[in-house]
């Protein structure tokens, strides 16, 4: 048994790994021949050796990770946040303008909201198909992902990507590869919120 979390040098490590490998093979061989309860006992022993094999490499991994992490280029957080705010805000502003135009032209408030959403989804889909939305997303990040246009982008980009595998197994099967989790968990959360609202009200 070796001490845990000790960074071994290469020779020591190779020695220990070879030793463990020898044991592992032997125990596996016994396990293969054993029956019933005895087999379980050997399986337990084998798994313990496997855990040791993993444990022995761990300090080396941690050591390397700490070297590597220092060189990782930082995310441009401030720039990203500002761009997300500007682009996200602009999309919402466009939405508001469209909404106002709809209400001015005589639509009811609810109908205008639905029509605005549909129109924004259409715009998101159009600019995805024209190949501009991914360029926008590169700069804007969450600013163009979070609004409803981003939802359109996630579906249309999947549709475009998998169109070549046919309409059934391509588009049909893969349409929601990106948006799927949003739909699943969005729906689930809406139910939960609804329940809370029902009882708390």
């Amino acid at each position: 048994m070796i001490a845990q979390n000790v960074l071994l040098n290469e020779q020591e490590m190779t020695k220990w790994l070879n030793e463990l490998q020898k044991e592992h093979q032997k125990v596996l061989f016994w396990e293969a021949q054993a029956k019933g309860e005895e087999r379980k006992k050997f399986a337990g022993l084998r798994q313990e050796i496997e855990r040791q094999q993993q444990r022995i490499a761990r300090p080396q991994q941690i050591d390397y990770q700490s070297t590597a992490i220092k060189l990782v280029p930082p995310q441009t957080v401030i720039k990203n946040v500002i761009m997300a705010f500007l682009v996200g805000g602009s999309i919402c502003l466009i939405g508001q303008i469209i909404y106002n135009l709809f209400t001015q032209s005589g639509l009811g408030l609810k109908d205008a909201a639905a029509a605005t959403s549909s129109f924004l989804v259409f715009l998101g889909a159009l600019f995805t198909a024209l190949g501009y939305y991914d360029e926008l997303g590169k700069v804007a990040g969450a600013g163009s992902i979070v609004p409803i246009t981003g939802f359109a982008n996630s579906i249309v980009s999947s549709a475009l990507e998998f169109k070549r595998e046919g309409y059934i197994y391509g588009v049909g099967a893969r349409l929601f590869t990106v948006a799927g989790p949003i739909l699943v968990y969005g729906t689930m959360v809406s139910i939960l919120v609804g329940l809370v609202y029902y009882f708390v009200r």
């Binding site: 490499a57 991914d134 980009s157 999947s158 990507e161």
Partner: protein
């Protein structure tokens, strides 16, 4: 000890197989890169007139081997073996290109180290006396790789700063027993190294230790050091992986001055790929378009080419597995016949 094996992992090719012909085909973005003038063929768009990206990639690989054959006045039937690989599931580009060539074929998968792996294996076939002419190809395509490994290409997501851009490109070489060109003297076959990285958007950090391990073993096996090479070039560690490799080298007291990386050379910083290029095509096209030419002109005399590969799949990433990585090294020298 096996006759032509030196030390733990290094192969010696005393008969010096010769790279007699080579060709590279790339996509438009690579054509705009710093090596743009040097590629044999730059496609005008990423579909290359085909209906799908997968077909386009296959065509690229086919074009590159055809161009390499044509430069040498050969036909596919003159090849004893064809070795090829790419990044797609079941290495379809390689299989479909081999279907076209109709020559004995072995498919390779070493992720982005495939081209170096092909060079090693071609050397073994020639040294073993079972072949006189061997063709080697490797390809990658940005859009097919994104589709398989990441997200739809038109999705407006932000790539992290550690991400690399898969090169759209294919490279092929012809290695022969006799002829003029660049010679292959040694190869070091790498071991799988996994230091616990699991971020599929940061393959440079994952692969750097593999490159370092192969390099260290190569030096030990041959009793050489960094000064024995005019250039030591890694496949696609990118800016981050290259930086980490330099740190690891410094710790061991190896000067990193003569090191470079194909992933850094293939794009210019203005192309905004974050950490540089990656993919089977990356090291392949830089070697065939740029480095071999420099060997030929005498600018370099001996280089060490280390192909690096991250052997993950989208499935293993999702299941939280760490990334096993590999690196194969090949020694190329300019002293021909």
């Amino acid at each position: 000890m096996a006759q032509n094996k030196i030390g733990k992992q290094t192969l010696h090719f005393p008969s010096t197989p010769i790279i007699t012909s080579w060709a590279s085909v790339v996509g438009p973005m690579e054509g705009k890169g710093p090596l743009g003038e040097k590629y044999d063929l730059v496609l005008t768009d990423t579909l290359a007139g085909e209906k799908t990206w997968e077909k386009a990639e296959q065509k690229m690989m086919q074009f590159s081997i055809e161009l390499a054959l044509e430069k040498r006045n050969l036909l596919p039937k003159d090849l004893d073996f064809y070795l090829a690989g790419d990044l797609l599931n079941q290495i379809t580009c390689a299989n479909f290109t081999a279907r076209f060539l109709n020559t004995p074929f072995l498919g390779l998968y070493g992720a982005c180290s495939t081209f170096a792996e092909g060079l090693c294996m071609a050397g073994v076939l020639l040294e073993g006396g079972v072949a006189e002419k061997v063709g080697v190809s490797a390809s990658s395509h940005h859009d097919t790789a994104e589709k398989q490994f990441r997200t739809p290409t038109e999705l407006g997501d932000q790539r992290p700063m550690t991400a690399q851009w898969t090169v759209t490109g294919s490279a092929s070489i012809i290695i022969e027993k006799t002829g003029t060109g660049i010679i292959l003297t040694h190869a070091t076959i790498g071991k799988i190294i996994d230091l616990g990285n699991s971020n599929a958007q940061d393959l440079g950090s994952a692969m750097a230790p593999a490159a370092f391990d192969t390099l260290k073993t190569h030096f030990e096996d041959l009793g050489r050091n960094e000064n024995d090479y005019d250039l030591i070039v890694t496949g696609d560690l990118g800016l981050l992986g290259h930086g980490i490799l330099k740190e690891l080298l410094k710790e061991k007291g190896i000067s990193p001055d003569r090191f470079n990386d194909c992933g850094i050379m293939v794009y210019s910083p203005e192309q905004d790929t974050h950490c540089g290029g990656s993919g089977c095509g990356c090291s392949g096209v830089v070697l065939t378009a740029h480095l071999i030419e420099r060997l030929l002109s005498g600018y370099y005399h001996r280089i060490l080419f280390i192909g690096t590969g991250a052997l993950l799949s989208p499935l293993t990433s999702l299941q939280g597995e760490t990334i096993p990585c590999i690196a194969h090294a090949v020694v190329l020298e300019s002293r021909g016949e």
